[in-house]
Structure formats: structure tokens, C-alpha cells
């Protein structure tokens, strides 16, 4: 089962969120970033070639022009292969783990998989990014030393940077699956994690500090009251 919605990112670009529902325990979100536009490509190429031509008129060496062509080609290939991300995918499989894939414009894919045993929770965090305050979705990893501690924060959808409405969609589905997973988990502390109407205070290794209050046992589908249930205290953390 597949459906597609359109959102916008923090700079106003169009994003497309595709959700694929394979089974109650397996869900995939695919967020497509805005494509590289012809305008920006032309602008960069023209500026590089104008600069090269300017140098050529100074130095009278035709190697500069060939070098400029090379640089443009190699730069474009490098940009497509290493920098420009086409779409980011989040695959959640109950009882296995969470997988994040970034597909670059040249087709290269880089994947990270986090086992469910290491995942503490999936939350939405606030951060100061340049001159804006943005929301981002992140996975909190468990600390092997402390049972309820957090060892690392893994941010998701780093290059797409969607806005809060898109994040809420993803967040809700993730929480459904995580709650289901904890309910059926065989670990001894699986049982008392679902009834977390209590406060949970966690510290990540990077100094983020968040405080979340939510009653998970109430499956509330009304978006407004769902957000009203959660208080997110600001955390000052750079995403990049």
C-alpha cells in the first residue's frame, strides 16, 4: 500500500513523502529532495568559464580553458556522486531495526542500519541551525552502561530537512511500530516501557537535554491534542 504527499522543507523547496505500508510491522518512508535545477547548473558553469576566460586574457595560456572544462566536468561528477542527495529512505521493521538510506544523484546509496535492541526511542528535537530554529527527527540510542540512558543521537533526513508537518507524519507511524514492538518484546524491561506516562529525562552525549511528557497508552489520533500532550523543551544543539 503506497501513498504520496507533498510537503516543503525549511527553505521552502518542494519535498515528496512516499509512504509504503508493507505490513503492520514494516513501514518505509521515502523523502525526495528537490532536484538540481538547470538554472543553478547554468549559473555555475557560466561563472566558472567566465573566470577562466578572464584569466586566459591575462595569461594568454590556452591550458586554462581546457583546465576550466575539466574542472567543470569533474566538479559536476563529484557533486552528483558525493554531495547531491536525491532521496532519503527510512525503513522500520518491527523487531529487526531501523534503516536509513541516502541515495545520491549518481545512483550511489549509503545505508546505515540500527538494530532494534539499540534503539531507545524516536523523537522530534528542536535545534538552532544558522539563523533558524528547526525541528528534526532523530533516533536515540541506548547506552549499554545505563539501562535508561542515551548514548547517541542519530538525526534523520539530514539533507531533506522537512518541516514539522512532515516530521509528525513520520513520527506517528514510527511510534506506532515502536509501541507495538515494546509490547511484544521479550526483554524483561519491555513491559514497563509502554506505560510511560512518567517523565523521562535523558542526556545525550552531545549535551542535548529534552524532556518529554506523553501518555503512550492513549492512542489519540487527533493531531492537535497529540502535540498538546507533548512538551518539548528546547535543546541547543547543532545538527551539522
Amino acid at each position: 500500500m503506497e501513498d504520496e504527499q507533498s510537503f516543503s522543507d525549511i527553505c521552502g523547496g518542494r519535498l515528496a513523502l512516499q509512504r509504503r505500508f508493507y505490513s503492520p510491522s514494516c513501514l518505509e518512508f521515502c523523502l525526495s529532495c528537490p532536484r538540481i535545477t538547470l538554472r543553478s547548473l547554468t549559473a555555475v558553469t557560466c561563472s566558472v568559464w567566465l573566470a577562466a576566460y578572464g584569466l586566459f586574457t591575462l595569461c594568454e595560456n590556452s591550458m586554462i580553458l581546457s583546465a576550466a572544462i575539466f574542472i567543470t566536468l569533474l566538479g559536476l561528477l563529484g557533486y552528483l556522486h558525493f554531495v547531491k542527495i536525491d532521496h532519503e529512505t527510512l525503513l522500520i521493521i518491527d523487531s529487526l531495526g531501523i534503516q536509513m538510506t541516502s541515495s545520491y544523484a549518481s545512483g550511489k546509496e549509503s545505508t546505515t542500519f540500527i538494530e532494534m535492541g539499540q534503539v531507545n526511542d524516536v523523537v522530534i528535537n528542536e535545534a538552532i541551525y544558522m539563523q533558524k530554529v528547526i525541528y528534526y527527527l532523530c533516533i536515540l540510542l541506548k547506552d549499554p552502561m545505563e539501562p535508561h540512558g542515551i548514548s547517541q543521537v542519530v538525526p534523520l533526513f539530514q539533507s531533506a530537512k522537512p518541516r514539522l508537518d512532515c516530521l509528525i507524519e513520520v513520527y506517528r507511524s514510527c511510534q506506532d511500530i515502536l509501541a507495538h514492538q515494546k509490547a511484544t518484546s521479550t526483554s524483561p524491561e519491555g513491559g514497563d516501557k509502554i506505560i510511560s506516562a512518567s517523565n523521562r529525562r535523558s542526556h545525550s552525549g552531545m549535551g542535548a537535554y529534552w524532556h518529554r511528557q506523553e501518555d503512550k497508552s492513549e492512542q489519540d489520533h487527533d493531531p492537535a491534542s497529540r502535540i498538546g500532550h507533548c512538551d518539548y523543551v528546547q535543546s541547543f544543539m547543532h545538527t551539522r
Binding site: R20, Y22, S23, S25, C26, E28, L91, I93, D94, S95, L96, Q99, T101, T111, T112, F113, E115, M116, G117, Q118, K142, P144, M145, S151, Q152, A183, T184, T186, G205
Partner: protein, 630 residues
């Protein structure tokens, strides 16, 4: 096809009933009651709607029907299927084989369920027969995987036998199928994620959870994969090697030859190291020279590496094996590059040209230094020097250069012979040749080093004198006992002489400082050139080329983790995933498998370097004192 044990199924677990139905040929009914199979672990509490995971090898997806053999991991509720046992079989022999494998590999291999690869819909009798097998090899939960031939539709069932009285009350769980490439998982090695900088790296194994168990199971069950279909064993298995074990003649020959060759080379190397550590070389002048030359350090390093490679002890773990392989490839590459260099030198007869050019170059350098000193003795950069001191220092250094040139000219007939022998040493490796080059540069610029030392000592003396007399000026003194500055009352004549000396030193400071500056810059230039050469040598020494090559050609061997892909899914059918190996990025390969080097890294930070330069302390940036980093 197998045993039909309908009677046993109805009577439940542990019932002693003989087979009444005539089964297909080659089946011997088992009249004795079968004990519950190993691995049935009722310990984990399971909630309703639990999803079980079944790791299924891709090579068995097209195998004929049979029994699933593997390991059940109750903590992750997952079953790792290792092989398929085909019909016909005798249950006792299957159990014997599994017991053997279990003993050999310490892995709890059991019969997990049945596998059915059929053409059309399930026949009644076959269904009951397959369920009946569950009574012989009782395992909780009992998996029943089924696939229609030629199509992609799979069906899986996992059932629990609740008790002998009511088999109908067995619960069924959802099963998720995860396909994995058995050969790749067997050969790959998982690298745990790097420890965070603010945590100790001692507890990383605590997080190595479910998937590491799968890798571990497959890797340790090699004993199960030893029999292929050409073996005339009692039990017919299907796994990644069942089409025939693959091996390479060259590898086998190399393994045979490795034993005696290693022994021979180990003896040779031990002779060499014994000879090099004999008493003669430990006498004072020789040991001092050896410690200063980087060539000796490099040779020693290479000797150690070769001893490690050819030692007759087997590698204890994969990391050691990789290290040995990396060292071997590094040594071979080094020697190959050295031989290339040698052939290039000889082809163009560069050694002769180099020898002819060396003396004029040394003369030219000496001349340039003389010009420099003449410039310093005049009015360098418009500064006015103290004439007398200037002349003294300048003449002193000029005489030094004259001595140096005389020595070079004395040595000139032997230069070509020496260079030829040095060039020959390139066949020991490019790193040795580069080290010798670095040492030759050090020897040829020895006079610059001497000038630097004189200038630095003079300047250091001056600075210390100045600081001490400055304290006297202010009426203070350095208390050596308490290591601090104390006030002190001086006599008038002490103050008078002190002030006089202070003034003299202050006015002589620019001259000394200028000489010090010039020679320090020259020395730093030489050190920079030597440093670049050492950097190159370090790079060749420490780069793990074998690991990089493995990452390039066989990326599944070095695994950072896994990745999953959801295969075609139809509603009502179980979820199917494909598990692939996520290879390690190149930067992590280099970081994990770097070889230890001589540790020729400057131990100062920039701040301490500047401080030493300001106070005139001597700097030894490339000191090699056996500082080995691991």
C-alpha cells in the same frame, strides 16, 4: 518421500507408536519414542501476535523439499536456517549428524521445521506427513515453509505444540523471512561501530546483538557444510557448498609449501637478528651512529615485520591474520618499487651522473653559504651589526665551510663506489632507499647542522644571561632550591658589573639573533625535506594495502553492518526481506588496519616549538628512539 507418522501425530509427543502406514521406499520406521530434540527452549515468554524471524539462505530457495536444519535463537525469536535435509532420510542418522556438528562447532544445531517446494496446492497426505515430522523432531516453534515451484509466493507457518492432548490448540505466529547469502555471511567479518569519544572502548561487545549472532552461527557451522552432494553420506544436505566444495589449486599448493618455507625463512631471519644484536654493535661509537641513522631503524623495522610474517605460529584471530597479510603485501610492494627504482637508475646510468654532479652541487652549496655569510658580515637588510662580533662569527663560520669543502674533496674518488652500493640497497625496498637518501642529506648538510648548533648555543647563552641580569637589574634572584624568583640585595659593585654586562649583552643581541635566525631557517628547511621523505616512508610502511584490496575486490569480507531490502510483497503472504552486507568505508578500513610504524612523529605542538625556538633550545624533530605506536 519419508516417514508417515500420522499415528504419532495424533498420539502427541513422546508416544511410542510404530508406523502403520506404508511409507515411501527407503524409509525405516522408528519404533522407539523420540526424546525432545535439543534446542526446544520454552524459556521465553511470548505475547500474542509475535513476529518470528527466519533467516533463510538464498541457495536453498530452489532446493527440493526436506527438513530445515539450523539454530534457534530465543532471545531474538529468530531461527537461522543453515541447510535443508532432503528426503529420504533416517531420523536417527539425521540426529547423529546434528550431534556431530554440534560437538565440532559448539553451535546448537537442530531440526527447525519442514521445507516444501512443490508444484501445486498442498496434498492432504503431504500436509499431515509434514506435521507428523514435527512429532519426531519436536522443536518449539516448528516452522513450516512452503514455496510454489516457479512462482514467488511463499507461505510460512510457525506452530507451537501446546500439549499431547490438544494439538489443535497450537498457537500460530507470524513469520518474517529474511534471505541471506550464506557464502558471503560465512566469509564476512563484522566490525563493530567505533566507540564514541567520550566513552571507554571496553563495552562495545555489549551492543553486538542479534545480527552478530546470525553471523557467528553461520561462521562457526563450517562442519555442517563439509559434505556436498558428491559425498556418499547417509544424509543428503543442501547448502551453499552442496554443489561441490570450491578450492583453488594455487591456494592449496601455497598452503603446502608455506610450512617448510616459513621454517627455513624463520631460521634465516633468526640468524640475521642474532648477528645484528651481537656485542660488537653495542659499543659506544657504533651504537650512537646506529641510533642516529634512520636507515638502521627502517631495516630493524622490516626485520621485525618479516620475522612476524614468517613465524611458524598460526594467527590467533582474524585481526592478526589481516595484519600479517598487510605486512607481507607492504614488504612485497616495497621490494617491487625498489627494484623498479634500481632498474630505472641503471638504465639511464643515473648513478654515474649523480656521482659526477654531487661534488659540484656540494661546492655550489658551500659557495652560496659563503655569500650568505659575506652578506651577514656587511649590513644585512640594512641593519647595523656590531662590527667586531660580526667579523668573529663570520670568520669562524667561513673557516668551518672551508674545512667542510676540503673533506668533500677528499672523499670525491669514493663517491661513485659508495653511491653504487647505496643504489644496490634499493633492492631491499624503496623505503630503505628513501631512508638512505634522508641520511645522505643529513650527512651532506652536516655543516648547516653544526652552524645551527653553534648559533643556537650562543643565542641560548645570551638569552639566559640576559634574563638573569635582568633580574639583577630589578633586584631579584633565581632561587634554585625553591625554583622561584626571590628578591635579593646586591652590593654596589655587583650591581655595577651586572648592569655593565647587561648593557653589553643587549647591544650584542641583534647580531647573535640574526645569525641564529638565519641558521635556524636553513636547518628547518633541511628538516622539512627530511620530514617529507620520512612521511613517504611512513606511508609505505603503514598503509594496509591487503585490506584495501580486499575492500575493493571482495567488499563482503569486511562488513560494517547489514542492509535490508523488502522484496515483492503480496497481502496475506509473509513479509520477505533480503539481507545484504554493508561494506566498511575505506576510511575505516585504513583506520582499523593501519600497521604500526616507527613512530617518527614530531612530539611537539606548534606552541612548544615556537617557545623552544625563542629561547634557543635545540630541537630534534625526527628522533627515532623506538617509540612504537600500536
Amino acid at each position: 518421500m519419508g516417514l508417515v507418522f500420522r499415528g504419532a501425530a495424533e498420539a502427541g509427543l513422546g508416544a511410542a507408536s510404530a508406523a502403520d502406514r506404508p511409507g515411501p521406499p527407503d524409509a525405516v520406521p522408528n519404533p522407539t519414542p523420540t526424546p525432545p530434540a535439543e534446542g526446544a527452549d520454552p524459556g521465553s515468554s511470548r505475547g500474542p501476535g509475535m513476529v518470528l524471524k527466519a533467516f533463510f539462505p538464498t541457495c536453498c530457495a530452489s532446493a527440493d523439499s526436506g527438513l530445515l536444519v539450523g539454530r534457534w535463537v530465543p532471545e531474538q525469536s529468530s531461527a537461522v536456517v543453515l541447510a535443508v535435509v532432503h528426503f529420504p532420510f533416517i531420523p536417527v542418522q539425521v540426529k547423529e549428524l546434528l550431534a556431530q556438528v554440534q560437538q565440532a562447532s559448539q553451535v546448537g544445531v537442530t531440526v527447525l521445521g519442514t521445507w516444501c517446494h512443490r508444484r501445486q496446492e498442498l496434498e492432504e497426505s503431504l500436509g499431515h506427513f509434514l506435521e507428523g515430522l514435527g512429532a519426531i523432531f519436536s522443536h518449539k516453534p516448528w516452522f513450516q515453509l512452503c514455496r510454489e515451484r516457479g512462482s514467488k509466493s511463499w507461505s510460512c507457518k510457525a506452530t507451537h505444540w501446546r500439549g499431547p492432548a490438544s494439538p489443535a490448540a497450537s498457537g500460530e505466529d507470524q513469520v518474517m523471512l529474511i534471505f541471506y547469502d550464506q557464502r558471503k555471511v560465512l566469509l564476512s567479518q563484522l566490525h563493530p561501530p567505533m566507540a564514541l569519544p567520550d566513552r571507554q572502548a571496553g563495552d562495545t561487545t555489549a551492543s553486538a546483538g542479534g545480527l552478530a549472532a546470525v553471523f557467528d552461527t553461520v561462521a562457526r557451522s563450517e562442519a555442517l557444510f563439509q559434505s556436498d552432494r558428491f559425498n556418499e553420506g547417509p544424509v543428503r544436505l543442501s547448502h551453499w557448498q552442496s554443489e561441490g566444495m570450491e578450492a583453488s589449486i594455487l591456494v592449496e599448493l601455497a598452503k603446502w609449501a608455506a610450512g617448510p618455507v616459513c621454517l627455513f625463512l624463520a631460521c634465516l631471519l633468526s640468524l640475521i637478528s642474532a648477528a645484528s644484536s651481537c656485542r660488537v654493535f653495542k659499543l659506544w661509537p657504533l651504537s650512537f651512529i646506529w641510533s642516529k641513522l634512520s636507515t638502521c631503524e627502517q631495516l630493524r623495522h622490516r626485520l621485525e615485520q618479516l620475522t612476524l610474517i614468517f613465524s611458524t605460529r598460526k594467527a590467533k584471530n582474524p585481526a592478526q591474520l589481516m595484519r600479517k597479510a598487510n605486512m607481507l603485501v607492504s614488504v612485497l610492494l616495497d621490494v617491487a618499487l625498489g627494484l623498479t627504482l634500481l632498474s630505472w637508475l641503471h638504465r639511464k646510468d643515473l648513478i654515474g651522473q649523480l656521482a659526477d654532479a654531487l661534488i659540484p652541487v656540494a661546492d655550489h652549496v658551500a659557495e652560496e653559504l659563503q655569500h650568505l655569510l659575506q652578506w651577514l658580515m656587511g649590513a644585512p637588510a640594512g641593519l647595523k651589526m656590531n662590527r667586531a662580533l660580526d667579523q668573529v662569527l663570520g670568520r669562524f663560520f667561513l673557516y668551518h665551510i672551508h674545512l667542510w669543502i676540503s673533506y668533500i674533496h677528499l672523499m670525491s674518488p669514493f663517491i661513485e663506489r659508495i653511491l653504487w652500493h647505496v643504489g644496490l640497497s634499493a633492492c631491499l625496498g624503496l623505503t630503505v632507499a628513501l631512508s638512505i637518501l634522508s641520511d645522505i642529506i643529513a650527512l651532506l648538510t652536516f655543516h648547516i647542522y653544526c652552524f645551527y648548533v653553534y648559533g643556537a648555543r650562543l643565542y641560548c647563552l645570551k638569552i639566559h644571561g640576559l634574563s638573569s641580569l635582568w633580574r639583577l637589574f630589578r633586584g631579584k634572584k633565581w632561587n634554585v632550591l625553591r625554583q622561584r624568583v626571590d628578591s635579593c640585595s646586591y652590593d654596589l659593585d655587583q650591581l655595577f658589573i651586572g648592569t655593565l654586562l647587561f648593557t653589553i649583552l643587549v647591544f650584542l643581541l641583534p647580531t647573535t639573533a640574526l645569525y641564529y635566525l638565519v641558521f635556524t631557517l636553513l636547518r628547518l628547511l633541511v628538516v622539512a625535506v627530511q620530514g617529507l621523505i620520512h612521511l613517504l616512508v611512513d606511508l609505505i610502511n603503514s598503509l594496509p594495502l591487503y585490506s584495501l584490496g580486499l575492500r575493493l575486490c571482495r567488499p563482503y569480507r569486511l562488513a560494517a553492518g547489514v542492509k535490508f531490502r523488502v522484496l515483492e510483497h503480496e497481502t496475506g503472504r509473509p513479509l520477505r526481506l533480503l539481507m545484504q552486507i554493508n561494506p566498511l568505508p575505506y576510511s575505516r578500513v585504513v583506520h582499523t588496519y593501519r600497521l604500526p610504524t616507527c613512530g617518527c612523529h614530531p612530539k611537539h605542538s606548534w606552541g612548544s616549538l615556537c617557545r623552544k625556538l625563542f629561547f634557543g633550545e635545540l630541537i630534534y624533530p625526527w628522533r627515532q628512539r623506538g617509540n612504537k605506536q600500536d
